[in-house]
Symmetry: C2
Subunit: 132 residues, 2 copies
DNA sequence: TTGTATATTGTTATAATATAACGTTATGTA
DNA sequence: TACATAACGTTATATTATAACAATATACAA
């Protein structure tokens, strides 16, 4: 069987919902909102999310247990993710900085371990919240 | 009231247990193992962990929902953490690389956001697992 | 040393997040 | 067609984490 080319029904439903949001969504909030479309159980959402994360269409914000759609045109860097998170309003933005990704993509430490993947989360106050 | 100088009873118990482990521990595994010392409920463990994370004695491995003791002598960089995680044996190591921490500590992107904290998790295969 | 504020504790209940296990249906391709 | 893999649907349950409340301990200023 070929590597999957098209998204399945549930995967499409979940992805469309997450893409419409402009903030990270929790799995159970997704579930609640796609129930009208036929997804009734947590597992249906989690399975779709798992696959979408695997192929890079969606990223998980680990510190928040939440999911955002990838904003990078073609999601080529799904194994190399960086986010900025405002600790006040919880706004999350995917960082797309070629210098940073180059630096981290080539990073090696003394352990002899070669890294195939990374996830970086920056925290602080966004412009708006800083000026309050 | 002064900034806390000494750890409380529960905080000491939890920290000592986490420090003895050479791998990240789950909260409920900690709970199970400190029950003989009087901590009976999850909240007692979570509260101690929260405080210990706050003061930098313990770090949370977000992608694993697990906790490790800080290995940096004086835990000065508790708001700037980096870990390597082997996806096969789950061994986790805290990365202590001044170039990396300098680079990330000074990182600014175009959003105008200044970061006060970051957490970075690298994934790959450790030396041992790579040679299998 | 007494009052006051804050931190920590103990406890029960419950919320939120995620997966196991089972059988079925769909899809790609040899 | 037959086979393998992926996705689906469903029920139950595991795992992770917090709410809410009352009590006790600690630091320090008046």
């Amino acid at each position: 069987m070929q590597k999957q080319q098209y998204l399945s029904k549930n995967q499409k439903i979940v992805l469309e919902h997450v893409e419409k949001a402009n903030q990270p969504l929790k799995a159970y909030s997704i579930l609640y909102n796609v129930q009208k479309k036929g997804l009734k159980a947590p597992l249906q959402v989690y399975r779709a999310l798992d696959k979408l994360v695997e192929i890079g269409k969606i990223h998980k914000i680990e510190s928040r247990n939440a999911f955002v759609a990838c904003k990078n045109a073609n999601c080529v860097v799904s194994n190399a993710t960086a986010f900025s998170i405002c600790e006040s309003c919880e706004k999350v933005t995917e960082i797309n900085n070629s210098k940073l990704s180059k630096y981290l993509g080539n990073f090696e430490d003394s352990s002899g371990m070669k890294y195939s993947k990374y996830n970086l989360e920056f925290f602080g106050l966004c412009k708006k919240c800083k000026n309050k």
